[in-house]
């Protein structure tokens, strides 16, 4: 349980209890429920409007936060998952395939975290291996070939730091993807839904438009990792999170991202459908706009956009 959510969870529980009592028919707690619900909404709003960067990190990593499979079920229709990199394997931590969003056909690619221990073992906690990045690239090239836009959902602690991943060229796989994405002749729309973990995120995260959910984060290094290096104390993660400017609001100010998609007060992990419905029009708006731009122009603009970042002259 997250610290700052204690009171919210307490209210959730009491509302649930009263609802159960009402349903068992002993008495009608309708007004009390309505009253508590209003209180809960108020509290959620106040807690969630003042989250610190470190609290946001915790929300972004919340075990109940929707994962890619859930976003797919909520938002897309006719998903056809396509497996394999055609070189070595099929990574379960990065998945992709054809999908449809309100009649718009596209290639969907994203990190797949699990929701429990078993799933996370299978999905490697959403940490991709080279074969995952290479599969993603294969799907992007298919999208380019068949003139479909690419939509990437980012949610990873980072690329997998394991011996086998190094052996098979984790660095090369990510580098290649980044290179190809800067040069892909079809629109790329990126949405950071949870954790945007460094190179593991960017490996499927270069695009024409970068969106973020309000409580998602995006960072060059985990706050813990940064704290243990620069503060020599992993416990200073909150300081590092603030200094690194990992939240959507900071990243919008820095012009790294283009738009923030609001989450209902209480966060996406409490409001799956409402969050999805907030995402839908924003995704559609950008898809509509991007698919009207000629591919060569897209590539030029993408170059110019990235070329500007970090120019200190």
């Amino acid at each position: 349980m997250l610290d700052f959510e204690k009171d919210l969870i307490e209210l959730d529980k009491r509302i649930a209890e009263l609802k159960q009592l009402s349903e068992s028919g002993d008495a009608d707690f309708g007004p009390e429920i309505e009253n508590l619900a209003a209180k809960q909404r108020q509290l959620a709003k106040s807690v969630y409007s003042t989250l610190t960067p470190w609290q946001t990190v915790q929300v972004a990593r919340h075990p109940e936060r929707p994962v890619l499979r859930e976003w797919i079920a909520l938002l897309f229709s006719d998903f056809i998952e396509l497996h394999g990199d055609r070189y070595f394997g099929d990574d379960a931590a990065i998945i992709g395939g054809f999908a449809t969003l309100d009649k718009r056909r596209l290639m969907l690619i994203g990190h797949q975290k699990g929701k429990n221990v078993e799933e996370n073992m299978e999905r490697n906690f959403g940490m991709g291996r080279p074969e995952g990045y290479r599969k993603a690239l294969r799907l992007m090239k298919l999208a380019e070939k068949f003139s479909l836009p690419v939509v990437c959902f980012i949610d990873t602690p980072g690329a997998y730091p394991g011996v086998d991943a190094e052996e098979r060229g984790q660095a090369e796989a990510i580098a290649k993807n980044i290179l190809e994405m800067t040069d892909l002749k079809t629109p790329i729309l990126v949405l950071v839904t949870g954790e945007g973990g460094s190179g593991g995120a960017l490996g499927i995260g270069v695009g024409d438009v970068i969106l973020m959910l309000r409580n998602a984060i995006y960072s060059v290094i985990s706050p813990e990792g940064c704290a243990s290096i620069l503060w020599r104390d992993g416990a200073k993660a909150a300081d590092a999170a603030a200094a690194l400017k990992v939240t959507a609001t900071s990243l919008l100010e820095l012009k790294i991202i283009d738009e923030i998609i609001a989450e209902p007060p209480g966060g996406a992990h409490r409001h799956y459908e409402a969050t999805a419905e907030a995402m839908r029009p924003v995704l559609l708006k950008h898809l509509k706009r991007l698919t009207r731009i000629p591919a060569s122009k897209l590539v030029t603009r993408r170059f110019e956009k990235y070329a500007k970042i970090g120019r200190s002259r």
């Binding site: 690329a159 580098a175 040069d183 960017l202 200094a243 970042i309």
Partner: protein
């Protein structure tokens, strides 16, 4: 991405005359300083390739008097106004500048390599561990852009611990920015030779250093994505000694050739000739 990986350089030998001898940090051999410099900081006993500064590397590769520097005045920005427990990034960057007499971790420009005109960017690990900040990326990009617009080959000599975390997300985005530059070389069929020296890790290995047409490494150079310690913590095992060495990378298919420092210039020249430059 831990950008400040440590590996001891050869040091003046305190047990003997510091002006006359150098001690190899790998085999502990005592080598005459004069000999050491003549061998371009390669141990005559164990072939250990000690790190070079960007200027030393330039002297090694580019014909004397032909180098034209680009972006000399570009120095680190501070997009996050970053401070940590030990002070501000701005101050650290200033210290690095005065220590190295460079404005950034890259020396960029163009010149002649055995008479062949080439664009070249050389990283210097002494400057904040060769970390990749916004201006570092900028200097890589002006090098690739110079090559693209002048139809020149491009050589990038990497030496980096990875991202410059003091610049946060701006550092990360340099991976995309530099690769976007590489894409423009590719669009024009211009060769990129990536020279991998000790160390080339993290965000640099996962961007421009690993998308060359040719990957040429120095013997023993550390090359990899994740840091050794992070991996050991993940797998809860000790790693083999040769893990992430140039030799290991070649065995796994990611390095075209490993070449001793003394032969580097001639190899690069021969490759450029095969690529059609003369």
């Amino acid at each position: 991405m831990g950008w400040f990986r440590k590996k001891k350089s050869a040091s003046p030998d305190p047990a003997t005359n510091q002006d006359v001898f150098v001690q190899c940090s790998q085999c502990n051999a005592h080598v005459f300083r004069e000999e050491w410099e003549k061998q371009i900081k390669v141990c005559p006993r164990c072939n250990f390739h000690d790190r070079l500064s960007a200027q030393e590397r330039l002297d090694l590769l580019i014909d004397s008097g032909t180098f034209q520097e680009l972006g000399k005045d570009i120095k680190p920005g501070d997009p996050l106004s970053f401070s940590d427990a030990r002070g501000s990034y701005a101050k650290k960057a200033d210290e690095a500048r005065s220590k190295t007499d460079m404005n950034e971790a890259v020396l960029a420009g163009h010149g002649r390599l055995s008479k062949l005109h080439t664009a070249i960017a050389i990283m210097d690990f002494r400057f904040l561990g060769g970390s990749l900040g916004g201006s570092t990326g900028e200097k890589i990009l002006i090098t690739t852009e110079y090559a693209a617009s002048h139809k020149l080959p491009c050589i990038i000599v990497s030496a980096s611990g990875g991202a410059r975390m003091h610049e946060g997300i701006v550092s990360l985005m340099q991976m995309a920015k530099t690769c976007a530059g590489v894409a423009r070389l590719r669009q024009r069929n211009l060769p990129l030779i990536s020279v991998l020296t000790d160390p080339t890790t993290g965000g640099v290995s996962a961007s421009y250093a690993m998308v060359g047409d040719f990957h040429i490494a120095e013997p023993g150079a550390l090359i990899g994505f994740a840091g050794r310690r992070v991996i050991e913590q993940t797998i809860k095992q000790k790693l083999p000694d040769d893990f992430q060495t140039a030799e290991y990378l070649q065995q796994h298919g990611f390095v075209d050739r490993i070449v001793c420092r003394a032969d580097m210039k001639s190899l690069l020249h021969r490759i450029l000739v095969y690529c059609g430059f003369s």
